[in-house]
Amino acid sequence: MTQLKYIPERCIGCAGCELVCGLQRDELLSTMSSSIMFHVEEERGYYGIIVKRKGGELLLGRPDGVEIKRPGEAAGGSASAKPIKMRPECDMCKGKPKCILFCPTGALEEE
């Protein structure tokens, strides 16, 4: 099965992918059930995404690169209304992922 791939240097931090995932899953505007979580720290000029992939592994997309954390490994990240570990795994939309179709810069791809 293919997985989601993140290319940080292409990302412009619009966070649309997070909402698109929630809309695809719930047919509502909401980010709470999204498999993608946008992470930003403006005072450090920092942004990226975390994706909960198949098998519960986390893709940490940082400005300086991408790291994969296996289940049980500490992932860091700030507190949130609904932590990424409690969210559903990305199922690649059972076809063509909607976040890839939406992303205006090609920062998300299949691998």
């Binding site: 719930d26 505007l29 909401s30 980010t31 992470h39 005072e43 400005p63 700030s78 209304a81 205006p104």
Partner: protein
């Protein structure tokens, strides 16, 4: 719950410390559509308000905008609040927040998940706009909370972004003893035809992304001679669901807040004309912004001048204030409004004429603006 909006507003009276949730009259929602027209109908005397348009916080290009409104001397003035404020307000459970009165002690308003509280701003005492943002996020434990904060000057900062408030929103907040408005969206909003809506929004996003080309950062809004004067400017970022990353992170030289978001091209242009060549515009701007000031000083005479200096596409800008689409983005790339109107029809499950949207926006924003 109507589609694309929750049909709910939050009324805050700072004098009595009361908060009330109220339904927005369905007929009013239909006639006024959203954004600035709704605020013009609902904002109280000498009060302020924030509101979403039907496309705010939806997956389509430029859908970041919440409208801010200040009522003074029976005149409504509007500004676009950018970054992720619109998204978080959309998902907060309230389409509109209407604030009136004056609090006896400094407070901040904390809105999330259909709940709102007025909280003592003791921990914000002595802090500037940026310090207030950090303190609220720390107290509530989430970096994603969008915070609009006020300090000494007339302009508010929205999550380290200044330049959008040319209407004295920040100064009015301060006079009301309201140090900050903090918003986090944990709720949900319905959409008619969600699959079709998402497909159409994605098609528009891809097309807009292609139109943008390599345009990026605040420098892309400036003449090259002016852009050359910006030192310490780094990575660019877009507001929510926008293909145009017109903001740039800039270095402050301050350990606590090493970076801030720069999209205030109006101040940069003004400073480049009025400061000596050796002046560090970025550092001077950082100092102005964190205190609630802009370099161009007094409030603008009209809404169109906020964030859209020289853009001139009045109908598009007016439509942006109704729909919740960034007026800078719409005007600069001359986005096809008919596509947004089509998308709105899909999401609402009924068509709204393009001319209705434009005339509604122009009737409000034309006042002293053109």
């Amino acid at each position: 719950m109507p589609a694309l909006m929750r049909g709910s507003m939050l009324l805050v009276d700072l004098t009595d410390c009361t908060l009330e949730e109220r339904e927005i009259d369905e007929d009013m929602l239909k006639r006024r559509i959203g954004g600035a027209p709704l605020l013009a109908s609902l904002t109280k005397k000498d009060g302020i308000s924030l509101g979403c348009g039907p496309l705010t916080g939806t997956p389509c290009p430029g859908a970041s905008m919440a409208a801010a409104c200040v009522e003074k001397n029976r005149r409504h003035r509007f500004a676009p609040v950018m970054l992720d404020v619109g998204l978080e307000l959309k998902l907060s459970g309230f389409d509109i927040v209407v604030i009136e009165g004056r609090s006896e002690k400094p407070v901040y308003l904390w809105i999330r998940d259909q709940v709102a509280d007025l909280i003592s701003a003791d921990k914000l005492e002595g802090r500037d706009c940026w310090g207030a943002i950090s303190a609220v996020r720390k107290e509530q434990g989430d970096q994603r909370i969008q915070v609009i904060s006020s300090h000494k000057g007339p302009s508010a900062s929205a999550s380290y972004v200044s330049g959008w408030d040319g209407i004295g929103f920040g100064g009015t907040m301060r006079d009301m003893n309201l140090r900050a408005i903090a918003i986090k969206g944990m709720s949900e909003v319905g959409v008619k035809n969600p699959a079709e809506f998402l497909a159409k929004g994605s098609e528009m996003m891809k097309a807009s992304g292609a139109l943008m080309g390599a345009r990026s950062g605040v420098a892309s809004l400036l003449h090259s001679d002016v852009a050359k004067r910006l030192k310490g400017v780094g990575r660019s970022r877009a507001c929510f669901s926008c293909p145009y990353p017109c903001m740039s992170y800039a270095e402050t030289g301050d350990k606590e807040h090493p970076s801030f978001s720069l999209m205030d091209q109006r101040s940069i242009i003004h400073m480049s004309k009025n400061s000596p060549p050796q002046a560090d515009i970025v550092k001077e701007l950082a100092n102005l912004h964190r205190n609630g000031n802009l370099s161009w000083g007094p409030e603008t005479s009209g809404t169109y001048e906020t964030m859209t200096d020289g853009v001139g596409e009045y109908d598009l800008i007016a439509a942006g204030y109704v729909l919740g689409i960034c007026p800078r983005f719409l005007g600069l790339i001359q986005a096809p409004l008919s596509k947004y109107v089509e998308l709105l029809g899909i999401g609402l499950g009924e068509a709204v004429p393009k001319d209705t949207i434009i005339s509604l926006g122009n009737s409000l924003l034309g006042e002293g603006a053109k």
